[in-house]
Amino acid sequence: MLDPKNYTVAKSTRTSRTALVFIFVLVVLLAVAPALVSRSLLQDLFFVLTMIALAQCWNLLAGYGGLVSVGQQAFVGLGAYIGFAGSILWGLNPMLAILLAGVVGAALSVPTAFVVFRLQGAYFAIGTWVAAEVYRLVFAQWKALGGGTGTSLPSGVAKSIAGLSWVREGLDIKSSAARDVISYWIALALVVVIVGAIYAFLRTRSGLALSALRDNETAAESIGVDTRRAKFAVYIFAAFGAAITGALIFFQKASITPQSAFSVIDWTAFVLFIVVIGGIGTIEGPIIGALILFVLQNWFADYGTWYLMALGAIAIAVMLVAPRGIWGLVQAKYDFSIFPTRRRLLGPDTPVPDYTQPIREMKLPPAKGVHAADTPLEVPTMFDIETDVLIIGSGPAGGASAALLSSYGIANIMIEKYGWLANTPRAHITNQRAMEVLRELGIEEDAIAKSVPQELMGNNVFCTALAGEEIGRLLTWGNHPSRKADYDLASPCRICDIPQTLLEPIIVAKAMESGTITRFKTEYISHTQDENGVVATVRDRVANEIYRIRAKYMIGADGANSLIAEQLGLPMDGKMGLEGSMNIEFEADLSKYVAHRPSVLYWIFQPGADIGGIGAGVVRMVRPWNKWLSIYGFDIKDGPPNLSTDEAEQIVRQLIGDDEILIKIGKLSYWTINNMVARRYAKGRVFCMGDAVHRHPPTNGLGSNTSIQDAYNLCWKLKLVLEGKADASLLDTYNDERQPVGRQIVTRANKSIEDYGPIFETLGITQGGSADDVKRRMDSRKQPTVEAEAKRKALNKYIRQKSYEFNCHGVELGQRYSSSAIVSDHTAEPEYTRDRELYYHPTTWPGARIPHVWLDRDQQSVSTLDLVGRGRFVLLTGVSGAGWMEAAARASAELDIALDAIQIGPGCSVNDTFGDWAMQSEVSDSGMILARPDGHVAWRSHMLSANPTGDLLAVMRQILGRT
């Protein structure tokens, strides 16, 4: 679907093609005008044309280049003076003198730029003015041209203009009238050339970058165009245009003074008003503006000062009320442009191939809750599309957020910098808690279909090479019989292995199917936020187009190099880039080494394998038993080694330990070991999640899993707040609940790396020496000596210790939250009877995830977890809980919120056939457990209270912040 062949980039539009014909006719008509109209009208037309020329140049500078100059009079005056000097002093033909004026203007603009470009923004404006003043004062010293009082054009010079006699005879007019005609023609030609040149330039890559520039400098730079050079070029061109125009204007006036030639009012103030009133940043605007100024001038110029004051007031009003000027208003209403300078992406996504829409207002495919901005062209802090939640990044965190929000019916747009989802199989261990979220989304089966099941995951082999000696083995991921029951009892879902490359498409497909709008090849650049929302500036990397998305909330799921977390200035603890590591994907049939001891991970202990990386060399199964990934470390001080395919194969071969086997090396990627967690996850209306806020090594396989849980925690809160059912303060609990988890897993994952050290040391690999020395030390554990026995014991202990990485059930699903969205039942937290990291301790204590037990509904097994979730609160009570059922109905009505109540027990809609719920619910049959949409217990009551409705309402109000 995202085949680039399906897209074309269109720059011209049908209306613009019609317009082109129209323009052509207009130009021809204007060209023959001297034969048709009076001399005074011709002079007026000359005035309009020269103003258009100046306005176009200034518009290019300010409207496109962001270079707001109030010193363009420098070049008008310069051109005028050089034109006069050329023809009077140096005897040039006026035509040549005009051209020379342009060249000198452009040449002098270079040193001028050198100085004024040192100033930015408003200071640049005044700097250009100072430069113009310098030129004025210098030219006032030019005694040969009359110094401060100026001079007039001798009539001989005026008559020497080329073609004068030809025009005079052809049109049968006086020579002064003939001079007007020629000036007029030159002005017309000038306007055509300037407009044409600007139009052509704006449609080039640099031109596009320039348009982007005013919005955002870094954005333009990220398109890969040197903005300084583009600005510089624009400045020179504008100087050239202004100087030629200036020379022409003063030839027509036939006299010059420094004051008039360098007048800030005539050559900058009027020009500015023309552009602003007409419409800045468009080619049409200055033309319209010049016509309007002309009309105003004709009608009101007699009113002198009042006229000028009114003009100033109009400009102010336009800037404040309709900053895009008259043409902007026209465009907003009729949605077309004569000179489309922006590119539009036409592809299968573009619903109606409506050739009249410039991309700035590109409407997205209609979807619920997404609407184009009402007045797209009027407000400067405008945006192009609007949604409720904008998600940046389509990794596990972003994808899960999109899928969950869409399943809750919340409008969202997800953007992703690249053209597709994960391209390397990074995360793979998908734990039960993550599977539970997929189960709620209805994609558990899809995921299982693509996964390697638990049974094939568990023979964690520690060896010297796949073909080498096996040092020890650990049954992992709940595959040891003593742990299998723990895992089976804890969840309706099985842990499994799905490479990120396969899981992401399942999640994102679900999201898009249920309403998410996903924009690939769209890069987040920056954002601003106010009390009502966030406006993000993003770049369509296909069309090279910048546009803005307004959302009520934004989710920053942009991974470990998160730009959003950085821009928000989220405080970070820890370090990035502690060790270097690389992934080498390869294909090889390794069945003979692994099929009898199936696993996802094979750990290789060789000299050198402990350097950098995640503690040891790894051969990781991607697909059994022919697709693999090797993880190998490098010394971060040396930087990524940039391996050739041969070198990569060398490493892989060494890890396998087989010189014969056929290996096909695939992608190579480098990454680093990080140990960093954000102290705060959110700021204002922007929430960061996933690797953006917790960055850690893949040990324990918690990254993607935790990212999905971040989403599961935040999304229902966003839903309730967006629906107006909860106060925005509920969103604060996202940070309160998830940040401690982030800290815990970052610490855990890094600790797991350290735990490899003792194994290497005990084996004697780290002590150095020749390969034989190492082998001898490793073999020493096989001796029947006391020392060797101690060594064997130690090794056994250290390998068992690795359960903290591979059977870390408590960390995987034992999270207990505490925040204002959890209401205490005033019981003490239940104690951990076993190791709290290794073992999951089910409880219904408020804050814990509701324990899983199998129940029976309509002759079918359902998990307690199947009863809860899906964006709503659920109250679980027992046979004697009718009071709670009623309380729930009342609270639901009173608060206008989805709050279901279910009785569990014999004779109820859900039966506790095995009696497991009775054993685990920790409340009596008249008690109740209130589950949040994320399955965590919000509150519980051991029995029916005196005032169930009142109590439930109070609790719900506290959770929702509706006090």
């Binding site: 707001v68 109030v70 050198f114 100033l119 200071y123 100072v130 500015l272 000062t305 900053p323 400067p380």
Partner: protein, 288 residues
């Protein structure tokens, strides 16, 4: 001796330029706004004093105080009603709006006061001077102007670093969003800052009118001087602005010494040279 005289004149002229520039520096520092109507407002200030003296027959000090109050209100209203709406990331709206304002002010004053050149009559003070050794003399008005500039700077520094208002100014200037969170009403703080800047502008207008003639159209050229003083001194430091004013004053008086026609030009050229060598000005505020 003539050089010493030139130096003294230059330094004292610098005091006047510093007064021109302090208001500009203040509002740029707080709200990153460059007011292109600053020069015209200065002329408005001068006219306000003139009206007090000529039309109402008030003594100069009283007229000046009234002009200060008038300009305070003008500044507050201007910022609150108009300029606050232009603030933002885009530099075009404030520039254009103040440029439009400048045109309106110039023509409005032209309409009201005619194009005649005016001067504030300070009585005997204008001729008074203090004689120094070797026949040197310091004009009373230039001296008072210079002292006023120093007083204004002392006041501004006190205000900025020792008062609640100053704290609010600094907070909004560092980070308007955070300031808002601290409960500061940015719009009002900005209006207050502009009002304050306009009082300084009134003071500048007073001395501008007392030291030389003025007419409704000279505002823009005074704006340029003010701007040059700010940039030369480096943004964000009031003492730097004074130094910038003095350097500009010296450049102009020395230029005029060589050729009277070069007075303004040499000021501009020194400004451009400094811009090329030290784009951040000579005494930029150390950030951090």
């Amino acid at each position: 001796m003539i050089y010493l005289d030139t130096i003294i004149q230059g330094v004292l002229l610098g005091g006047l330029y510093a007064l021109f520039a302090l208001g500009l520096s203040l509002i740029f520092g707080i709200m990153r706004l460059v007011n292109l109507a600053h020069g015209d407002l200065m002329i408005l200030g001068a006219f306000a004093v003139l009206v007090g003296v000529d039309a109402l027959g008030l003594p100069i000090p009283l007229a000046a105080v009234l002009a200060g109050i008038f300009m305070f209100m003008v500044g507050y209203a201007l910022q609150y009603v108009l300029l606050n709406r232009t603030l933002g990331r885009d530099i075009l709206p404030p520039l254009l709006v103040t440029f439009g304002l400048s045109i309106i002010l110039q023509n409005g004053m032209l309409e009201t006061f005619s194009a005649d050149t005016q001067r504030l009559n300070m009585g005997g003070l204008q001729e008074a001077s203090i004689s120094l050794f070797g026949g040197l003399a310091i004009g009373m008005v230039p001296l008072i102007t210079f002292i006023s500039a120093i007083v204004v700077i002392l006041f501004l520094n006190w205000l900025f670093y020792s008062t609640e208002t100053g704290r609010a100014f600094r907070a909004t200037s560092d980070n308007p969003q955070i300031a808002q969170l601290m409960g500061i009403d940015n719009d009002r703080i900005f209006a207050l800052a502009m009002a304050l800047a306009m009082v300084i502008v009134a003071i500048a207008g007073l001395y501008l009118g007392a030291r030389a003639t003025f007419d409704p159209l000279i505002g823009p050229s005074r704006l340029i001087f003010a701007f040059e003083a700010v940039i030369i001194g480096g943004l964000g430091s009031f003492w730097g602005t004074l130094a910038g004013g003095i350097i500009l004053g010296l450049a102009q008086t020395f230029g005029a010494q060589i050729n009277p026609e070069w007075q303004i030009l040499s000021g501009h050229i020194v400004f451009l040279i400094i811009l090329v060598i030290r784009p951040k000005g000579l005494f930029p505020r150390v950030t951090g």
